[in-house]
Symmetry: D3
Subunit: 173 residues, 6 copies
Amino acid sequence: MIRAFYIGRFQPYHFGHHTVITRIAEEVDELVIGVGSAQKSHEATDPFTAGERVLMLYNALEHLPIRHYVLPIEDVRYNSIWVHHVASRTPRFDVVYSNNPLVIQLFREAGFCVKESPLYIRDRYSGTEIRRRMIAGEKWEHLVPKPIVETIKDIDGITRLRNVSASDNNFSL
Amino acid sequence: MIRAFYIGRFQPYHFGHHTVITRIAEEVDELVIGVGSAQKSHEATDPFTAGERVLMLYNALEHLPIRHYVLPIEDVRYNSIWVHHVASRTPRFDVVYSNNPLVIQLFREAGFCVKESPLYIRDRYSGTEIRRRMIAGEKWEHLVPKPIVETIKDIDGITRLRNVSASDNNFSL
Amino acid sequence: MIRAFYIGRFQPYHFGHHTVITRIAEEVDELVIGVGSAQKSHEATDPFTAGERVLMLYNALEHLPIRHYVLPIEDVRYNSIWVHHVASRTPRFDVVYSNNPLVIQLFREAGFCVKESPLYIRDRYSGTEIRRRMIAGEKWEHLVPKPIVETIKDIDGITRLRNVSASDNNFSL
Amino acid sequence: MIRAFYIGRFQPYHFGHHTVITRIAEEVDELVIGVGSAQKSHEATDPFTAGERVLMLYNALEHLPIRHYVLPIEDVRYNSIWVHHVASRTPRFDVVYSNNPLVIQLFREAGFCVKESPLYIRDRYSGTEIRRRMIAGEKWEHLVPKPIVETIKDIDGITRLRNVSASDNNFSL
Amino acid sequence: MIRAFYIGRFQPYHFGHHTVITRIAEEVDELVIGVGSAQKSHEATDPFTAGERVLMLYNALEHLPIRHYVLPIEDVRYNSIWVHHVASRTPRFDVVYSNNPLVIQLFREAGFCVKESPLYIRDRYSGTEIRRRMIAGEKWEHLVPKPIVETIKDIDGITRLRNVSASDNNFSL
Amino acid sequence: MIRAFYIGRFQPYHFGHHTVITRIAEEVDELVIGVGSAQKSHEATDPFTAGERVLMLYNALEHLPIRHYVLPIEDVRYNSIWVHHVASRTPRFDVVYSNNPLVIQLFREAGFCVKESPLYIRDRYSGTEIRRRMIAGEKWEHLVPKPIVETIKDIDGITRLRNVSASDNNFSL
């Protein structure tokens, strides 16, 4: 039995994530998916709450054929303990999939087995680009799985993103 | 569609929790299960990590007939924001099931609908009693669903519980 | 111009506090009143929020003849910096009034001038006794200034206190 | 009885704030004024402590004809609970005045009534511009109410602002 | 080259600690000494600051024949990451000396080599007993190395301990 | 007896620091060296852990002729209490050496005696420049004392620095 770990911020969940997760699911028995920066929301780069992102993943991964855990992971104040923070919040896993050099470095220093994630076309599917389109009023719906569109509409996510982006994120005059 | 919320510490998950969750599942469409005090582990009253407890719930609830979310919830420093902390970490829910007077008071003040949990025989199924039996070397396995026994053995949980209970929990002479 | 500092938890504000503050007001030009443990509420020993306690003090001290500042002060994680934490949250003051040995020690070590508070009959006017009476359904209204009774009724404070006291303060089964 | 809420950082308090607060005071019965980012001081954009800013507001608003509360509000780590954090630190209020899109969004999502603040000429009265003038040695005193000038001189605020701005805010070589 | 780790709270440093450290020094090449609960001071069980305790250890260990590091270690909020927190604050070490079951359990789970500390007569040399004697005005000086007596006198430590113990440690009426 | 205080981040320790510390050591009896931002590591500007930096200083200062304390100092959330945080973590000192305007301002406001550090050629010896060279594969070894080269090689520090710098420091896609 091989259990893998994969982490993203999912702001929002898009076809890039979906491709990677679907591919990993073909190689392992179980997959732990960390919803990173769980404490963040209502920011220009992090508009959605952890709960909203969890819902996106449940909706998009309903038919993933292997058991998967969707678990919010809060940031910690310093990198040296981040891996152990993750480990204490998740079922024990055997391999980490990531393309992020920092994530790879931290897990390797801690003695974990790390593999490169299957690639996707990053230019096309990127949270940054999708949020830019949402604010600009351009088409973004084709870049995310269908249930994500619903979830974002239900919470009036575009209005929220525009407002939090219009602000300097500072509660003050 | 009715989505409910239920929270426990699950140190460990036992037949008391299992009965309640099974009953709630008959009344609602989806259930969000909060794994409370997620940051705690290796303490006499909280021996298991959030990740280990998540695994217990996934194993025990594999056949629960409704969609359920198992989400670690960390404690926060003050009660006045606890409900909103929970809300930001979970998909939106319509009703809270609880028998804890503080939980009920906090959710009611915040305008949530709260229902009493279905009851179980607390004297028999209690985390405190189960941990006492584990330390004393008495029989405890019949008080928890079978997969929980496996999970605890896999991590050598009895030894851990005994050691963390033998200590005054203070890293010092 | 002499500005003094006085701190209490005010759970709730009662005639003991009122007597002390009225007396200090006769000796100084301005008074900074710290509302301690500001982050706490909905606990058996700390049922009221900082905002509710601020309101109690504004209502009770409406006619205090000197300028007074009512400022919530959160607890800090360690005693060695508590005095400086207080100092950064308050207008500069010249003298501290307290009968609490720890408060006196901390301010003296930091070089502040400290005076004993004018005394009041502690057995009669004590937050602990008032909260006990509230829970037991005994008479408590004569122990607090009249506006405090209103404030507590407005927020249904007795019900809240009973519920948070009935719980073991632990969000879990 | 209508109680309103208004928040600013007041680094320093200036005629822009003063105009807005004076206008709001004509529309409501009581006003809660939050002193935002209360934990900050000795930074290029936040030179003054919460206590110093509280003093500025008390001095400038001595003759405001309605009851007003001046209450420091610390930042919290994440936006989703900020409104509830504010609510627990303040007497209950009926309406929020703000022009900040993020503040408006957060209070609206939490079900509060929000009104646009009365406007002032932002180009002229801005904390950023005033701090720039203080550092450059240009005239700034005409942009703030007279008592603010005194308060800042008493604490040698210009020297402090220059020193904290000269640094990269990093305690190190 | 073998580098060992040993941790204590040292409230205050006494002959029990001294015996253990001297013995460990005979078995290893370098010793890292953690000053635990570094953030605490001015409490009945933790009267001395980290800085004062560091000074005690430097004075008492001036002639220890091996290189030793005296490093304050703050508590962390949860046990599962404590070992990794320690590891990030200290030079890499090969072996841990401890008699505390929790410390042993945590380091063993993290894969460290742990040895039992050399024993000392705990009834005689205990921080609890020494602090009790200090408060009661009984003889305590013979239980600690001579430089410790000086250090405590220099900071008027007995007065501090008595005052912080007389208080219920709660900044309030 | 004069005890001085000096603080740096030491990312890594270089000849600039070494010159300053050696000079200060000629003027005072004891020197407390704070290792600033102790909680940081594995970041592009802060690659090394506190423990690794402590080891660098012990190795480089083995022959410093005066007693010196090497003590990690974590950042605190706000500047107003930073000085007191430092003071609680260190043996009492009489004078602070610094060229950082913020550090000077904070210690002066708190009543400490502050002296300008002896100067060194900053263009040549700068952590920023050394880290840039490490990443670029240029020569950096001549800019640090010899034992520092060993320490960094032992932990494969160059690889780590490159990886953490290649990332946007954000655990996510």
